[in-house]
Symmetry: C2
Subunit: 211 residues, 2 copies
């Protein structure tokens, strides 16, 4: 049980600092592997195919859906985003905790399909801080910022479905906290099924022996 | 939010080593306070009134129930066990995590009344190890051991209702693990209600401002 990797879904408001956080976690610990999403959205400046995303066409994305090559997919702002199955399964079999950085729609689908997955929601300490960070980027129009904040308001309704809500205030502390949550999560009953089953069966066995 | 103490319920099979574990946790960290149960069972050798338990009579116990002086109570093997309310509330208000070492019936009542309470189940690594520990005590009859194992078989059916299941194999490691779980638990949505509410309201406010 201890050796199986976890499937960890990390979501959070656009501007919460998920990307930086996940990068720091991967750099600090060997226990994690990052799943790279496939998307039909256009690449932004500096994004490389196969690093931030696998960029693809709508047709090819739909082909991949057809052959069950994605463990989840969703559309967001008119584009497809999905998680290729092969890499996730391979890394988990090798004991790595595989991180999916996906939005809430995808996260909830993952939880439904894989109840033992771990859902973590990352948020800045407050909405005011979120707004400040989005404005501070200086790369986006006022309209896009308003759109992201509106989206955040919607997403905030779904936070309660996550296993943990992490406040990303201090990067170092937050990386340690994420690592601690992955540890703690292994002790939840949903991820201790084998242990519980074995103990129950053994105890039943004693009882039968005593009758 | 960070400052409120948690209500931590620790249960586990008789022989799982809960008592030793809790004692070590209290010795190592200032963050915890131990709730002392009230019981009508006879004291065992070495047990002191007000330390291991408050020992009382059936009449006085029932009087305490009447005046709502217990946050939960249950009967187990023909005796009453209950948790006096005043101490728990006082310690939590001072930011201490209050530990209740109670059995499963009481634990489930606590969870129902206080959904934000943290339920931890302590188990030896296997049922065989549990049996070995019970026999190793050398203080109990074969009949009592069989009774405890039968009770453990019943209790094992309820393990899944706990927040975490902790394997008590190595005392030191287990103390650290408990401490980590108390930290992690604060990030669960059920214990982050205030944070979620504030963020939602603030984000809704931005949206209204933008319309």
């Amino acid at each position: 049980m201890e050796k199986d990797g976890l499937l960890i879904v990390i979501s959070g408001f656009s501007g919460a600092g998920k990307g930086t956080l996940v990068k720091a976690l991967l750099q600090r610990y060997d226990d994690y592997a990052l799943s790279i999403s496939m998307t039909t959205r256009a690449s932004r400046e500096g994004e490389r195919d196969g690093v931030e995303y696998f960029f693809t066409t709508k047709d090819k994305f739909e082909e991949t859906i057809e052959r069950d090559g994605l463990i989840e997919y969703a559309s967001y702002c008119g584009n497809y985003y999905g998680t290729p199955r092969a890499y996730v399964e391979e890394q988990m079999a090798h004991g790595k905790n595989v991180i999916l950085e996906i939005e809430i729609q995808g996260a909830l689908k993952i939880k439904e399909k894989f109840p033992e997955s771990l859902l973590i929601f990352v948020t800045p300490p407050s909405a005011a801080e979120l707004k400040r960070r989005l404005e501070g980027r200086g790369t986006e129009s006022a309209e896009m910022i308003a759109r992201r904040l509106a989206r955040a308001a919607e997403e905030s309704e779904g936070m309660g479905a996550y296993d943990y809500i992490v406040v990303n205030d201090n990067l170092e502390a937050c990386v340690e906290e994420l690592h601690g949550l992955a540890d703690a999560a292994r002790r939840a009953p949903v991820r201790s099924q084998k242990l519980m089953r074995e103990i129950r069966e053994e105890l039943q066995g004693f009882r039968k022996g005593a009758d």
